[in-house]
Structures are given as C-alpha cells and as structure tokens.
Symmetry: C2
Subunit: 127 residues, 2 copies
DNA sequence: CTAAAGGGTAGAGTATGCTCTAAGGTCAAC
DNA sequence: GTTGACCTTAGAGCATACTCTACCCTTTAG
C-alpha cells in the first residue's frame, strides 16, 4: 500500500511515517519502480504498536529495540530470549508502578467522595 | 531545605527543579529573606512522584493536573473526585495496555527459548 | 497535453523537557 | 575584606519527536 493509505489507516501523519522509517522503526518498506514506498499489510499493525508503546512512555529507541527483537529471525535465539525477557521485565516494572499510582488515585478519589458526602450533610468541603 | 540538598536527595538537577517550579509542579516553595528557595520536606516526595509519573509516560502537564488534584484542599470535592476518577481511569488503561505488551513479550520470549532448545538438538535458530 | 492528485527528498520549524552558561547577589570562614 | 561555596535570574543550547515547507517527479483523468 502507498503512504496515503497507511496514513489514513493508522491516523499517523505521512511525515511521521517517513520519520519512523528513517529511525529504523519500519524496516520492510519496499520501493516500486517509481520510487514510491510500498508498505506491506503488516505495517498497519506495526505502526499501531509503535504508537501504543510510545503512549506507554517508551522512547523510539527503546521501541526499536523491542521491534528488532520481535523481528529477529536472524539473531541468536538465546540472545533474543534474553532481550525479550529484559524488555518484559521493564514493562512489568512499569505495570507495578502504575498499579501503585492507581491505588493512590483510588484512595484519593474515595477520600474526596467521602468529603463530598459529608459536605451534603454539613456545608463545606474539608479536602 | 536549600536547592542543593533537594538536588542531592532527589538526584534531579537544580536547573530542572527550577524548571519544574516554573511549570507549576512545585508550588509550595518559600523564599528566605535572601531570596534563596526554601523547600519543605515534602518536596522530596513530590519530586519523586513527578519523576515516577514522567517515567510512566505522563507529560509534565498531565503530572501537574494529577498533583493539583491531589493537593486540592481548595477545589470542590465532587469535582476533585471526578478528576481523580478520570486520572485513575487513564492509568488503568495504561496498565491494561502494558499487560498486553507484557503478554506479547512473554510469548515471544517463550518462542525464542523453545527455538533455542530445538537448536541445541538440531543446529540452527528457526526464529 | 495538461491539470490535479499523490509521491519523493531535504531541510526548516515547533513543542517539550531538560541542561548549561553568564552575570551577579549572599554568606560563612579566615 | 576577600575568598569560595552557595544562591539568584535570564536566556542560550540541546535531544527527541514530530510537523511542515519547498521543490521537484509520477500517475491518472479529461
């Protein structure tokens, strides 16, 4: 598919798509005779993954490392497994931290709701 | 405490600390007669929270919103509870997505380990 | 053939988040 | 009272990740 279609299907600016390609995030981009890019179907999924990981706080560099490992038919299996385990550990750390933040926010929400309820009885928010 | 101590205790550059203050992330910074900043003990914790949320993919703007809500003795309780619920929902979404990524990485790790095991029997990594 | 739509590259510009430099004020120790 | 460690502000500089502009080529439709 051409860049316009990928742009439309992923919602990612074509300039950004070319930027990602330069950054090594999209490696299986063919060129037609006219030098136009020809993206495989998988590119849609791949771009989505990039955006998802980005939103989760990974830098393009880190995303590239993950994607490289996922695409590693070429590299050593043991080495790939180790890299994968490392990335997974980083993600799991992030999950643990986010759970703590979630719990904190949940407690705070509860506190404010309780205060709001008390307010309906008395008259002022006590924080 | 003075900026050097906060810098040392948080590991965050003093320029960055002043930048955070300008960005509204540190609001309870007093000034002494000599115009030196005087941070309360709580600032250590607060800076740590900023760094944690940053590492988890939040922009300074978002972090500010969360911290503002957490510090909201002034704003309306119901409103605060709603804001808190929104932030928590965003965090929980992030957790769900990260779990998917973690699962994907885990499967990939397994696949590579299996390949590595097969390799030890046969001869080449089949990805 | 030509216009319009779409593609290419190179490089400039922007937003965010630092990080550092310059120039100068404050303070404790000698 | 001067040195050195600490503080101040303003603003420059830098890395990352886009986002856009300029300019030119290709394809398609009339």
């Amino acid at each position: 598919m051409q860049i316009a279609e990928l742009e439309q299907r992923t919602g990612v600016n074509r300039h950004t798509l070319r930027y990602y390609e330069k950054a090594g995030l999209l490696q299986e981009v063919e060129r037609r005779g006219n030098n136009y890019r020809d993206y495989p179907e998988k590119a849609v999924e791949r771009v989505a993954m990039v955006r998802q990981l980005k939103a989760l706080g990974f830098s393009l560099r880190e995303i590239r490392e993950v994607l490289d490992a996922l695409r590693s038919d070429s590299i050593d299996c043991e080495q790939g497994a180790v890299l994968m385990a490392e990335k997974k550990a980083a993600v799991d750390d992030k999950i643990r931290e986010l759970k703590q933040v979630s719990a904190l926010l949940g407690r705070e929400q509860q506190r404010l709701e309780d205060s709001a309820a008390a307010l309906r009885e008395e008259g002022r928010c006590k924080g």
